[in-house]
């Protein structure tokens, strides 16, 4: 399974989350449902979506370092040339160049923390609107729980397909190996997180629904 296929799958997962978000918004629209528990459900769904975005937002370390090295090289060259031109001593040229390289640390940190989300959103842009019609008479809260359970199943299938062709997929045959690999592979890590958030979202819908019955 190539990364492109993984991103396509994640785009579908995100569509399922959006469907749950829409259904929940319709369910709570106009009523007195805008309470802490409804906010909790929305927050959990957002966290699930964010985890999916981050699963698709990986930048290979070598590419990140290459871009970093090229940026540092260019800035250092400009600073060293400038300080050379104004006639600074060699020691000061080196100091200025090293200081410029170090000053790039903070903007670089900001860029690499913002990039995965931006990239993830771009890679998982919905390609078609999803129309799922719930059977008549089904309780909307049950429907949302069902949608999220579908999401869990599709995430598990994506994990299966991804590991089937992963060069270290053999390690993930055991639970300990899977845990070890998930700590090293951002796609696995964030897909597992998304599944966790989906579970918490289902629980949050349960809690919200039980309070709705009391009102």
């Amino acid at each position: 399974m190539t990364n492109r296929h993984v991103y396509e799958s994640i785009a579908r997962h995100r569509q399922i989350v959006q469907l749950a978000v829409q259904r929940f918004a319709a369910l709570t629209a106009g009523g007195d449902d805008d309470n802490a528990r409804a906010a909790d459900v929305r927050e959990r769904l957002d966290m699930c979506d964010d985890a999916l975005v981050r699963a698709a937002g990986g930048v290979p370390t070598w590419l990140r370092t290459l871009i970093g090295a090229l940026s540092v090289g260019s800035v250092v060259w400009l600073v060293a040339s400038g300080t050379h031109l104004i006639g600074l001593q060699p020691g000061w040229v080196i100091t200025a160049a090293v200081a410029a390289a170090m000053a790039m640390g903070w903007p670089w940190y900001l860029a690499i923390t913002a990039l995965p989300r931006r990239l993830g959103r771009r890679r998982t842009r919905p390609f078609a609107s999803m129309e799922i019609q719930a059977p008549d008479g089904i309780d909307p809260a049950v429907e949302i729980r069902g949608v999220l359970q579908v999401l869990r199943g599709t995430i598990a299938r994506t994990l299966d397909r991804y590991l089937a062709e992963h060069r270290q997929g053999r390690i993930a045959r055991s639970a300990a190996g899977f845990e070890w690999l998930a700590g090293r592979e951002p796609i696995l890590f964030w897909l597992c997180r998304a599944d966790g958030h989906a579970c918490v979202a289902i629980e949050a819908v349960d809690i919200w629904d039980s309070r709705r019955d009391l009102r």
Partner: protein, 182 residues
């Protein structure tokens, strides 16, 4: 208080690791693990991390990434100093640019090769690793240990941490009640 933070973080890691191990059980076409168990453990991990954040700022990246960043910085510094020492006129712009950019790539190659070797060894050991007997009981024990440490070390933060630990214990109860019989 920093000892409490590391205990809380290691307990959170145990909860997160247990979630991932349980998720593994739902792969390969097998039935998905119970959502309440996964949710319960995920919330426990969240509460523990939140409690730890009352003591110290949470690291922006994972432990491995922070460690590799430090190693890369060390290798890069050594490479830079060595090259700038060796070349006749190190203040030339292209020498400086090449050294600083090139040392970044050298550091990546060195540190990631070392990690790859380390990972290979660890992966081999994983096959013989045993499973945790009862992670929920272990988590409960660790939370109790933090609570004991918190008692003599009371300050403004202990109330907030105590509340989060109580919530974590409640969710552990829920998790335990929903665990499939072994």
């Amino acid at each position: 208080m920093s000892g409490i933070a590391s205990l809380l973080c290691s307990a959170a890691e145990l909860a997160e690791g247990t979630v991932v191990r349980l998720q593994h059980a739902g792969m390969g076409g097998r039935p998905l693990p119970d959502r309440t168990v996964i949710a319960g453990l995920a919330i426990v991990a969240e509460r523990l991390r939140l409690a730890a954040s009352h003591v110290t700022d949470p690291p922006p990246f994972g432990r491995r990434m922070v460690a590799s960043a430090y190693w890369m910085l060390a290798v890069q510094t050594i490479t830079c100093v060595a090259v700038l020492w060796a070349v006749p006129d190190p203040s030339r712009p292209w020498v400086l640019a090449g050294t600083l950019a090139g040392s970044d790539l050298v550091a990546l190659a060195v540190v990631y090769s070392a990690y790859a070797l380390y990972d290979r060894g660890q992966a081999r050991r994983l096959t013989s690793a045993g499973e945790d007997a009862n992670p929920v009981a272990e988590l409960r024990e660790r939370i109790a240990a933090v609570t004991r440490l918190l008692e003599p070390d009371r300050d403004d933060r202990h109330l907030e941490i105590g509340k989060l630990l109580e919530q974590a214990l409640t969710w552990l109860d829920i998790t335990e009640a929903n665990q499939p019989p072994t």
